[in-house]
């Protein structure tokens, strides 16, 4: 997507770029939104509903969404389940491995705010938005598979209004919550916030 992004830069600075930009935006958004492959970041109970959503009865494929457990192949990370302080570095690193443009869906109360594990616990990160930029929140404990599919459709709407222009590109907040967790075997030059 680097090419498209650079295109956005060029067009934005040039005179009359706005009109062309809008058409390019429309094309890019159309192509980006139609087939969102999901990276299932299922950690806990919500993962069961994530699986249910992609199998027989609910059949995610009909929306062009397909769970693919490989960060390099996917567009949207569905964080389904509780994120603990031990798990957070791994989630962040997987997010970093995904190719741009990328989106995040926080599925379930745990991923939104810690949910039932907000109080009294020492090991749960209160919401995945503490370290990832979340686009769509789906409430529920667990949300029904239909809600997840609705969430994906909402994400498409968001994508449809997006732009390749650089000043409208979201800034990823990539700071981890202070934690006793070890960093995840980081190698030099890798995993730094961009």
């Amino acid at each position: 997507m680097a090419l498209v992004d650079r295109l956005g830069q060029t067009l934005d600075s040039g005179s009359g770029g706005g009109i062309i930009l809008t058409s390019v935006d429309a094309l890019a958004n159309w192509s980006r939104g139609k087939s969102l492959w999901a990276m299932p970041m299922g950690t806990a109970c919500c993962a069961m509903e994530l699986i249910a959503a992609s199998f027989n009865k609910f059949d995610f494929d009909r929306h062009g969404t397909f769970p693919r457990p490989d960060p390099r192949h996917t567009d949207v990370m569905v964080v389904a389940g509780t994120i603990t302080r031990k798990m957070a570095p791994a989630v962040k690193r997987l997010y970093e491995q995904m190719a741009d443009p990328k989106w995040v869906i926080a599925m379930g109360n745990c991923a939104i705010s810690g949910g039932i594990f907000y109080y009294d616990t020492y090991s749960v990160v209160r919401g995945v938005d503490e370290f990832l930029p979340v686009d769509v929140y789906i409430a529920g404990c667990p949300p029904r598979p239909e809600s997840l599919q609705d969430g994906v459709l909402r994400l498409r709407e968001i994508i449809a209004t997006g732009s390749i222009s650089p000043d409208r590109v979201r800034e990823a907040v990539l700071t981890l919550p202070s934690s006793g967790a070890v960093s995840f075997g980081k190698r030099p030059g890798e995993g730094e916030a961009r």
Binding site: C45, A47, E49, D120, Y122
Partner: protein, 381 residues
Amino acid sequence: MSVEIESRECVVRGDGGVVEQLVVNVGPSHPSTHGVCRVIVHLDGEVVTKAEPVIGYLHRGIEKMAENRTYLQVVPLTDRLDYVGSMYANWAYCRALERLAGIRVPERAEYLRVIVCEMQRIASHMMSLGSAAADSGAATMFIYAFDQRERIIELFEELCGARLTYNYVRPGGVSFDVPEGWVETALAFCRTHRAALTEMDRLYFGNVIARDRLKGVGVLSAADAVAWGASGPVARGSGVNFDLRKHDPYSVYPRFDFDVPTGSNGDCYDRARVRLFECYESCRILEQAIAQMEPGPFRTEGLPRLLAPRPGDAYDHIESARGSLGVYLVADGTPRPYRMKVRSPAFCNLALLPMLAEGHMLSDLVVILGSLDPVFGEVDR
């Protein structure tokens, strides 16, 4: 993050030869680790020389949280332990509490508990069989199994409104009586389920590739199973005839006629097959329970909202889909538990992984892990 090489090192083999050993990290987010398990695998070529599970990626501190909730508020927390079979942890916790506080449970509630737990066993085994099969490449089996699971979840939804976190078994009974027509649907499910099981048996266990993948892999001896505290289908697959429903009968289980399937070789094949046969037995129990159930109250009326059992401790356990699931409660006379400990079967079963995986191929590791059927909500708590 899924699978990556951590290091290479040279080790001297027993016979004096030098091999290059590869240390590979699998997980914690790997599609076939059934959740968030990380395994650090030492490989000699493709053969596992040492596998070390790293757990705790889902450690949510439920035991600590319980210390600041009232006894009733803990019940929803227990749902989140074993999220493939939420009813079990509900029930185990309620049993421990009922023992501690001396609550009597009406008979109909006991039957309802048995009914939902046997259905939950089927649902849980379907998940386990399906995902273990998908790990070894048989994705079709997953779809068949998931179809069955989805039917049970629909029944549960009709019963208590939730698909996954039921909060159904409560201290002193259950939260709702069965709705009209539910029992008939459940019986009809039993009939179709038997046919589906037979079909799955032929589809998966009759398949020569699946048999080759499973037979002789990850052999666990009966003595080891006992010494390592394994329980449930993992122990029974090795021929250890140990099932709390039979050997420490609780609730109304002594009134039912059922068998405990056991394996003989203790390999992945036997463990998976035991699960399949348990589903038949669950159908049998289900039908008997529905036939024997009498109308009556389904919960104890007049329980105070703030239960404050007298100081002491109590342990009680049930046979969950993964083995003996126990809850140990310590009370200090206040309305909150002083300490809650969950004895999780999956935790004990997973401890076997290093022993079972040694000497097998890397691709067998996921099959072995699948056959142990860990649920990480329960392993890590």
